[in-house]
């Protein structure tokens, strides 16, 4: 039977998932929870596609049994995927500086694809947590800086100076400051370094407030 995705027609066996059908014609649909053959529970709803009439289906477990047409690339679909992903990210305790899944994290990859902010530069850092520059006495701003630069400075052997701006999640900034204090860094020194690139940003106020809350708690 024939399936048409974004105007591209493909012939598939009955019972094939939309995700496999799309892959056959070279269309990449974003996904998070699906592991083919192991888990196709469509929990994340990041792989949403729609019919021309506007009905939504998760591409990972919708199986095709008749000739049908789908749209996988439209503005409203990307917006819905983005909202679904943001909700998932909200429940994730982001502590990339302690995570060993550097460069292979689906959350980090998808956040870039869906343009969802909130993942720090540590997710792209080439150094493992045991080699972290912070432990060598180098004040790196990776923990509180928005990712997306492929950690260019860290790959070149330097530290993060925060040129991409701060991350927006207050809980994450607070956890990062707790970690700075734990490692013996002065919060004022961190803020002073952050001011180099963030002095004109309104978000700097959020960072300063988060730092104050952590200092008060300590």
């Amino acid at each position: 039977m024939k399936v048409k995705i974004d105007g591209k027609e493909v012939e598939v066996e009955p019972g094939t998932t939309l995700l496999s059908a799309a892959e056959k014609v070279g269309i990449e649909i974003p996904r998070l929870c699906v592991i083919p053959g192991l888990y196709e529970g469509s929990s994340c709803r990041v792989c949403l596609v729609k019919t021309p009439a506007g009905r939504l289906f998760p591409a990972c477990n919708y199986r095709v049994y008749r000739d049908e047409e789908f749209v996988s690339n439209s503005l409203d679909l990307w917006e819905m995927r983005r909202v679904n992903f943001e909700l998932i990210l909200k429940f994730h305790r982001i502590e990339c500086w302690q995570c060993y899944r550097k460069g292979q994290c689906s959350l980090a990859t998808l956040s870039k694809e869906l343009m969802v902010e909130g993942i720090p530069v540590c997710s792209e850092c080439p150094l493992s947590p045991s080699e972290c520059l912070l432990q060598k006495g180098i004040l790196c701003l990776g923990m509180i800086t928005q990712s997306g630069c492929r950690a260019e400075c860290l790959f070149s052997g330097g530290e993060c100076w925060g040129c991409r701006g701060p991350i927006s999640r207050r809980d994450l900034i607070e956890r990062a400051f707790e970690h700075y204090i734990e490692l013996g860094y002065d919060v004022k020194a961190v803020i002073s370094k952050a001011e180099i690139f963030w002095n004109s940003l309104s978000e700097l106020k959020i960072v300063k407030e988060a730092a104050d809350r952590v200092v008060d708690r300590e």
């Binding site: 860290l154 070149s156 330097g158």
Partner: protein, 428 residues
């Protein structure tokens, strides 16, 4: 001599905004070289900042020659704080800076070449000689690749810092960079054969009206990338910390940048000044290159030829240095970090060879924070010399029957481009 008033607004093919006013009245010529770009106050806004952050911000003075500002600033901070990096780290810094001079000079030659071939700008030049242009761009790529092996990213290199060299450099990487530079040197020899005929002299017979030059004093007969002394062509050698005694900084009403004079007279810094001073160090092949290109040391336009020859010379000596360094290490040079208790006080002046001349960074640090900064860039040193040379050029043009305004404008603009294609550092 009739009177004439010309204004060249925003000289083309130059980074930054500069206006040149030419006044010629009854045999007298006056040129005003006015940088109209907004000042950025680096020396002021860094006051009170932790000294260790200073080099990283100072490198932002110029995106084109960021490495020299970064390394010179690092040296000055280290001197002030009394830190001494390991010799191989210092060597790597010197090589990184040498590679920057190679890359910058090479691109400057490419940007200025259309003035000599009569093509006006690089776009027209690239259409007229696509093969040659592509080969030059490929050569530039090789130089950048060699830099990448040593320092990592070229613009605002993150691996260089105060008492830090963050990038591990293996012997294989050193050897690869050396191989690339040897390839660049060979490519330059080939390119010279093509350039020999098309590189016509501009204003032949015009000579430098103020032949006073300055460069770094060589250390142990080795091409100096960093030095403790300035050397002037009148034989005067000045220690870094005494630079203020001979160099006078002045403000002028028509320019946002300073002027720096040597004992109240203009002087030139740059490749032309360096090559004249270090001519004894040049190898036979480089001297032959100089003869082939018919370099005239006294013609300010031949600063571009000097840069080309300097590229060939530096590619050669840097590849040897890289080979020597590769032979002296085991495995790789590990990232180097010092214990960062930078709360000392002190004063440091660093001199560095920048692509366009001599760069001075002078800091006073109190309890680990910057208290005073003074930066003198090559562009401000050359500014007055450029005016004096421009005035002589306009007189020379009139004496040689060149009276067309457009032709005079072209000559003056070409002179600015031959001196310096990048001016924002003058309003740091």
């Amino acid at each position: 001599m009739s009177s004439m008033r010309l204004v060249i607004e925003e000289v083309p093919a130059v980074a930054g905004k500069v206006n040149v006013h030419v006044d010629r009245d009854r045999g007298k010529v006056r040129i005003e070289f006015g940088v109209v770009q907004e000042p950025r106050f680096f020396e002021r806004f860094l006051k009170g900042r932790p000294a260790v952050q200073v080099p990283y911000v100072m490198s932002r003075i110029c995106g084109v020659c960021s490495v020299v500002h970064l390394t010179c600033s690092i040296e000055a901070v280290e001197k002030a704080l009394g830190l001494v990096p390991k010799p191989e780290i210092h060597m790597l810094r010197s090589i990184a800076k040498g590679l920057e001079i190679v890359q910058n000079n090479f691109i400057h030659v490419l940007m200025a070449l259309p003035d000599f071939t009569g093509h006006g700008n690089v776009i027209t030049f690239s259409k007229a000689y696509p093969g040659l242009f592509n080969r030059m761009m490929e050569t530039n790529k090789m130089i950048l690749e060699a830099y990448n092996r040593i320092g990592g990213r070229f613009v605002h290199t993150p691996s260089l810092g105060v008492a830090v060299h963050g990038k591990p450099v293996s012997r294989y990487e050193l050897q690869t960079a050396s191989r690339l530079l040897r390839q660049v040197a060979r490519e330059l020899e080939d390119l010279t054969l093509n350039l020999e005929d098309m590189w016509k002299p501009l204003a032949e017979g015009f000579t430098d009206p103020a032949p006073e030059y300055c460069c770094l004093n060589p250390v142990e007969n080795w091409y100096p990338f960093f030095s403790e002394e300035l050397r002037f062509s009148d034989g005067n050698v000045v220690k870094a910390e005494n630079y203020g005694e001979v160099l006078n900084e002045r403000n002028v009403s028509y320019s946002n940048s300073h002027y720096v004079l040597y004992r109240n007279s203009p002087f030139h810094v740059g490749s032309r000044a360096r090559l004249q001073a270090y001519v004894n160090m040049l190898s036979q092949s480089v001297l032959e290159l100089e003869k082939t290109l018919r370099l005239d040391f006294l013609n300010p336009f031949d600063n571009v030829k000097s840069q080309y020859i300097e590229v060939a010379y530096l590619a050669d000596i840097l590849s040897h240095s890289l080979d020597e360094l590769a032979a002296s290490i085991r495995g790789r040079i590990e990232p180097f970090y010092t214990e960062r208790s930078f709360n000392n006080s002190g004063e440091g002046v660093a001199l560095a060879a920048a692509p366009r001349g001599v760069l001075i960074h002078h800091y006073k640090i109190t309890n680990g924070r910057l208290e005073y900064a003074n930066i003198i860039t090559p562009t401000v040193m050359n500014a007055r010399h450029m005016e004096v040379a421009g005035e002589a050029l306009v007189k020379w043009a009139y004496d040689n029957g060149i009276e067309c305004d457009e032709r005079v404008k072209h000559l003056v603009s070409a002179l600015v481009r031959a001196y310096d294609p990048c001016l924002p550092c003058s309003v740091h």
